[in-house]
């Protein structure tokens, strides 16, 4: 511990670098960089490490994969397909699975990593959203995150399409149908994408290049930016006792955080290897080669495309044909609107919230979800919306497993997609406000101690103890709503920012954001109350 000089090898390398890059100053400043500790802060790391694993396993796969649609007759070790005509892409995927040792494992880990990559991005984004961690100064990283998820969807779709099996070909067929529906330029987009008519000869090699080079390159760049911004801005912290807006409390990067994150990398790889070894994914040999006349029931995309699949299934058959042109609303609306609402909304949200609340300060300490009921409610509404569309993408599997009518499931989702988010918003908001009230009661009354007291006149009551300081601190981290300035002050001068219809809308929204807030005040007394429960109304609830 008292050693002040590093071992020679380390010293030598450091010296070498320092003399050329001046790196030691950087190392010194960052070696003990503090990382606050919370399990949910690690969700994003799953995505990071899944991405690393995707790069490694993906590189392995390219060594054997042939991105070619040249037709060959298979004669190989998967005997059931011997003599079947297929593309080289499909044949080489069979070769990877059945003739390259570890090839099947790498394919499966690659696919599981893709699923985990996308799932963890969603989980991470939900954590960031519900804790308000996207607030100033972190809006840019929020936008980068949305960008990465969108690119991840494309990347996943393209990867899913490469083996040219029946399932992936069906996915491409749908992609083609959607491209064709674009007004004005649809058929051109379609022809240019496929190099002619579907399926043609070009699509697999083209998607291959996009899948292994362009998109991962962009994602890698965005990952780097995301990490550097996070490093520079320092991580947000949960509102515990030792965290303030000006200071961050936690373990140093070296050695603790480094070891933890290292362990987490190993966990990620371990879990993916576990899935790759014991859970079969994308068994393309069972699907058969792509054949435009064939189809299977339950032809679904991977989960992250399920939303699009669901919206395509729910959409009524609206199509406009006028003046010699056709506008396929039945394809365009589901392809653009639901994801547009969710991701466009998510991208605009930090700025929208800033505008409505008028809160332009920096935030380094996270909100508790209950303390921003409107945000939490809208988040849950979005989750419900997304989730319903997602399940609707598997409505045939639902109908089959639970023996309900297929069209009935469609109708259920058609209605639920509108009702569900509203209900989710209302219920969530009520729950948040209820939790706020219980927090207010904890601060005012303390917590139940389990000690029953008898008063001189014979009444029983439970003694309340003040909450522990840690707990009080967490509860008091809430920022109480402040009354909006009146739109017109005493002298008849309108308040800035409330002029015109936009200003009016803003102040209405601001009111909606704040009106039912339950203020929690530190009343100063640290002693517990021992009145009979309910004997005193706790707080005036401002409605």
């Amino acid at each position: 511990m008292s050693e002040t000089t590093a071992p020679k090898a380390v010293e030598g390398t450091l010296g070498f670098l320092d003399e050329r890059l001046g790196s030691t100053t950087f190392f010194k400043r960052n070696v003990k960089k503090v990382f606050p500790d919370h399990w949910s802060f690690m969700l994003g790391e799953i995505a990071l490490y899944s991405f690393v694993i995707l790069l490694l396993t993906g590189t392995f796969l390219t060594l054997w994969f042939k991105p070619s649609m040249l037709e060959v007759v298979y004669e190989g070790s998967y005997t059931k397909l011997n003599g079947v005509k297929m593309s080289e892409a499909y044949a080489s995927t069979l070769h990877i699975s059945f003739d390259v040792r570890g090839g099947l494992l790498m394919r499966q880990i690659h696919h599981w990593a893709a699923i985990l990559f996308m799932a963890s991005i969603i989980a991470h984004m939900l954590r960031v959203f519900f804790t308000g961690a996207y607030r100033k100064p972190r809006e840019l990283n929020w936008l980068i995150g949305i960008g990465m998820f969108t690119l991840g969807m494309l990347e996943g779709l393209f990867g899913y399409s490469l083996p040219d099996d029946l399932l992936s070909g069906t996915g491409l067929r749908i992609t083609q149908g959607v491209a064709e529906a674009i007004p004005l330029v649809g058929t051109y987009v379609y022809m240019f994408l496929f190099g002619g008519e579907f399926p043609g000869q070009d699509i697999v090699p083209r998607l291959f290049t996009l899948h292994v080079l362009l998109i991962p390159g962009i994602i890698l760049g965005l990952v780097t930016a995301h990490m550097m911004i996070m490093w520079h801005q320092k991580h947000t912290a949960m509102p515990t006792q030792k965290q303030t807006e000006d200071q961050v409390y936690g373990y140093p990067f070296y050695p603790v955080f480094m070891a933890k994150t290292g362990a987490y990398f190993l966990f990620t790889f371990g879990v993916l290897a576990l899935l790759g070894a014991f859970a079969q994914i994308n068994p393309i040999w069972l699907f058969g080669p792509y054949d435009p006349g064939a189809i299977s029931s339950a032809s679904q995309p991977d989960w992250y495309m399920g939303v699009l699949e669901g919206s395509l299934r729910l959409m009524p058959n609206w199509e406009i044909t006028a003046v010699g042109h056709t506008l396929s609303l039945n394809v365009l609306i589901p392809a653009l609107v639901p994801l547009g609402i969710v991701f466009g909304g998510a991208a605009a949200w930090p700025f929208l919230e800033q505008w409505v609340t008028g809160d332009k300060r920096l935030h380094n300490v996270n909100d508790r979800p209950r303390n921003a009921p409107v945000r939490t409610g809208i988040g849950m509404a979005a989750v419900t919306f997304y989730g319903l569309l997602w399940v609707a993408g598997a409505n045939d599997v639902v109908a089959e497993r639970f023996h309900v009518s297929l069209f009935a499931t469609t109708w259920f989702f058609r209605v639920a997609i509108f009702v569900g988010p509203v209900l989710a918003y209302i219920i969530t908001k009520r729950m948040c406000l209820g939790l706020q009230r219980s927090d207010a009661a904890t601060i005012d009354h303390g917590v139940e101690s389990g000690i029953i007291m008898m008063s001189p006149d014979g009444r029983y009551s439970e003694r309340h103890e003040p909450a522990r300081p840690e707990e009080r601190h967490v509860i008091l981290s809430k920022e109480n709503a402040r009354a909006e300035r009146p739109a017109v002050d005493a002298n008849g001068v309108p308040a800035p920012g409330s002029k015109g219809p936009v200003g009016h809308l803003r102040s209405r929204l601001n009111q909606a954001w704040n009106f039912d807030d339950v203020p929690i005040e530190d009343n100063g007394h640290d002693h517990g109350h021992d009145e009979v429960e309910g004997g005193k109304e706790t707080k005036q609830i401002s409605h």
Binding site: Y78, T187, G195, G250, P292, G293, R313, R468
Partner: protein, 372 residues
Amino acid sequence: MSDETNETAGPARPHGEGGKPERVIGTPAGGQPLLGGGAEDEYPAPAGAGEELDEKSAKNAERAVAAFFLLSFVASVVFIAYFIGWSGRNGGMHGVLRARESNFWLGGMMALSFLAMAVGVTIWVRRLMTSRPIVQERHEFVATEEVRAGFAQDFMEGAADSGITKRPLLRRTLLLAAAPLGLAPLVLLRDLGPLPEKRLRSTFWADAVEKAHKQGKKGVRLVVDGTNRPLKVSDFSTPGAMITVLPEGIEHDLPETEVLTQTAKAVTILINVPADQFKPAKGRENWHVNGIVAYSKICTHVGCPAALYEQTTHHILCPCHQSTFDATDAAKVVFGPAARPLPQLPLAVEDGYLVATSDYHEPIGPSFWERG
């Protein structure tokens, strides 16, 4: 921290702000835990604890960590040993059974190796690393007023020095020069594919029918997809029958690279609807043969094969997005997102064989802008 209170309104500052940073290291837990037995408490040290680890407990932890690392080592060794020594026996891994075995051993050992190491490192961090939590200032990244002003000045000076503000001609011609340069790469993308032209408006049925007409025949025979067997009317006489058919010759008359592409448009579903339930559409009275009808198999929604035929309801369902068509009624849409009926192929009989007498009369598959 920028602390500008907003002009209009906003939530109040958090409570207890501006308090001094709390002393952290070795701070004993305050008060008796009332809720959750101290789970809320951050990094507490037991009362009276010193700075060093309890040696006995540390030794145990060290042994556990070492055991996990050893397990990881063994798993990796087994992985390598299996690969080199066993997986390649009898001419290497080929086929399902050996792939299964290889996947099980390689994957299982890899998982074990990583997970054991992960568990080891985690125990190490939790039980043995003595680093204490520390506090760091969050630095403000906003530049001071002077710096901003200084930069603004430098920027304007530079602009003035370069002459770009003074010489608008330079500025405008530069912009002019840049504009087409940006468009140039887009032009390059033109050769990605042919223009749509009339491609989407006809299928191989047209070519095949034309060829048949030249030979003095009425139409092209329908062959079963997969076996290429031409179908006679008598072959397909059972009510409720369904099969996927293609125009005869599609496999042999086309260059190999074209077969799939043409199949993707020409693929047709042949259905024998009981004659008493069949309602031929106006103008298509002679397009069927005793209730034997042919519809395009490509869904008019986004192009999946609409192939799921229920002989009890006579519905044709597309398994992708569940567009449903009525086979008895010109494949009219009865449910789902598809807007148009499946195109119908005119059928006739020639020498006892089912033949198509022309191409589809409308473009098959999904709608597009120019479709009309």
